[in-house]
Symmetry: C2
Subunit: 448 residues, 2 copies
Amino acid sequence: MARTASLSGFPEWLPEERLVELHVLDTLRRVFELHGFSSIETRAVETVAQLLRKGEIDKEVYGLSRLQEDEGEESKAAKGEHHSLALHFDLTVPFARYVVENAGYLAFPFRRYQIQKVWRGERPQEGRAREFTQADIDIVGDGELPFRYDVEIALVIAEALSTLPIPDFRLRINNRKLAEGFYRGIGLTDTAGVLRSIDKLEKIGPAKVAELLKTELGASEEQAQAALSLAGIRTEDTSFVEQVRALGVKDDLLEEGLNELEQVIAAAVQRAPGKVVADLSIARGLDYYTGTVVETVLVGHEQLGSICSGGRYDALASKGNRKFPGVGLSIGVTRLVTRILSQDLAQATRTVPTAVLVALNNDASWDAAQDVAAQLRSRGISTEVAAKAEKFGKQIKFADRRGIPFVWFTDDDGKHQVKDIRSGEQSDADPATWAPAEDDLYVRVLKA
Amino acid sequence: MARTASLSGFPEWLPEERLVELHVLDTLRRVFELHGFSSIETRAVETVAQLLRKGEIDKEVYGLSRLQEDEGEESKAAKGEHHSLALHFDLTVPFARYVVENAGYLAFPFRRYQIQKVWRGERPQEGRAREFTQADIDIVGDGELPFRYDVEIALVIAEALSTLPIPDFRLRINNRKLAEGFYRGIGLTDTAGVLRSIDKLEKIGPAKVAELLKTELGASEEQAQAALSLAGIRTEDTSFVEQVRALGVKDDLLEEGLNELEQVIAAAVQRAPGKVVADLSIARGLDYYTGTVVETVLVGHEQLGSICSGGRYDALASKGNRKFPGVGLSIGVTRLVTRILSQDLAQATRTVPTAVLVALNNDASWDAAQDVAAQLRSRGISTEVAAKAEKFGKQIKFADRRGIPFVWFTDDDGKHQVKDIRSGEQSDADPATWAPAEDDLYVRVLKA
């Protein structure tokens, strides 16, 4: 089980826990690369101006300043101007900047994955850390980006999540065009305002949302109920289309959204059966999404919040008249790993990478032991050499304490034997050919 | 070639450059794990008190504060007390804290590697960034740590560096005991002071170092010359021992140091021939090293500075009376990668992970194309599907522009063909069995 972090909100893992995290990261990377996504990293810092462009979550940003500032900087600090740099709070804003800066060097549609830490100065709580790792994939186009990528990216994420040692999950997918077109169709023109209210549905319930719609947006009881009816639709197949049509609202944007969401759900029913639902209550707070929107819950762990969110933004970034539309999803790796560890959902098969400890027969045998180790390593077998020629019992105990499954012995005549210290079985072995069973070659991470 | 970073001192890589960095990181990880080192990560932030414990480089530390602080925090800021957290400037201080905090959960000697970004607010210059990646290995004991680990860690690093696409290198190794014992033996008791002066040898030359020793440490001309004679010794084998003895100085600590350095060099001559020199001018500025000290230069790139440094510290950390001695080395990954990229020392075989683009015969064939792609991916072949059924020429051009070597075609009768767009060769293929040549399966990074 995970230790308590010594600094609240900044989790750290023990080596055997880190193996679980590494497994998650390696698995995601493998799936992303299999689908042709390129790795990039952006610097941890952005200018404050860049970060606050959307003007939304400045409360959560960590500003940077050098501990020993010179005179000029100190006077700036006194005026509150000392935060020219700050830590990024997500990977989307930095990616948008990167795309604009490097547009001349990228081949569009550009597919990238980005796995990095981000920082938010929020109050830490279950599933919400101040430092955490996100794994993002995005596809970004130059000028245009075919809708098909919305379908594809949902399928890639469903595949990626399916390969992780986590409980069953559901991608809850909606479409902003569908929602906004519907609101417009029933006469509610402040569609962003309606979305913000609907976004509170899970927190405050339908009655209070209706109240908000009426008091803050001037909706009639009928309009409020229609908006809530739409948000109540949730289907595991494309039958949501009929349910929306049954509400009798006509609007071009609504039609476009229905068609888009239908494509995503139809493909998912076929290629990721049971993993995706059309959930017309999904709004996503930030208002730059323009089409597909996604949130993801772990079944049985809904209170953990979304473990993977994102969607389509028609203007992820722009450079003069040039627009870069994108579609992307972001996995909350730390949130997932914290849950895996705290509930023992998966475990590493051993605590160290080492498969073999080469024991020392006597102090002079260190060099010969290194030769054995080099031979094993040349065939991919992780090997350590004992540092001291202690009694064999002590060296075996050392291996046991470190979680190393095999101990290698070479006697004075150069005869080699290897002992599986779990079974006690010991047999002759040749350092040029011996290998552990495939299951013991590398650390594996197994679902509980 | 690397683009200019948009923020000085914070390098970012293009996707094809990132492939080179990833190759370096993957290679280091593989070697470290083959030698039984466990991965850990520590949080990016430490308390300021923790970071400044050694009291040396506070000028370079980035402090953190939330952009929107509440009242209490603001008044603290006005009093200059707002930096309770700061970004780590190396991985040694955080690792020492981690060891102390988790001592009860670790099996000693604990071997760990740690590959993370660190930050220093220094003036950026060639080889010196404000944000950069370090790859550290350390072995830390509980109470004691056999000297043999000093030998081992030098060999592991020599092996790791040998597998990277970099120019030839030399580990320059010295031993603090040797140097301090020698200084003591000639009557210079402020051994730390002498070390600090000797550390400036490459920068200011022997005449000025002699001057420093005389004016600041009260050394006689004879003492200064003896210290410089020692620092002038540099051998590729263990002959430095005789050369030191020829200087006629007697001291127990000197003997101990000679013996230790001899062991390291003797093992390296045998196991990493040509990669290691005994260089008695190496001092290392920071004063917590207590035995072996190492710096590493790239041959022909000496002005780049050390690309891998470290050594033995008898008290890496302590917890009451409990001491944790360690030995470790740190590779400057960003410094290496910057040099590789700026001088085209290595290159990726292609710019994207994708091996195959599945072309669309017509718009309705997207689904069938996804089936082909899934079959290829299930056998580890990175595959993308075209988003639009453009003319084949256009789809081939798209693959070419992205650097994808193969394009897959399926005609209306379900006949499959694959084209190597580099050679133009096209042949029948079965999605269940076809694979590219091994060299084309994954991106590889090749030394120029």
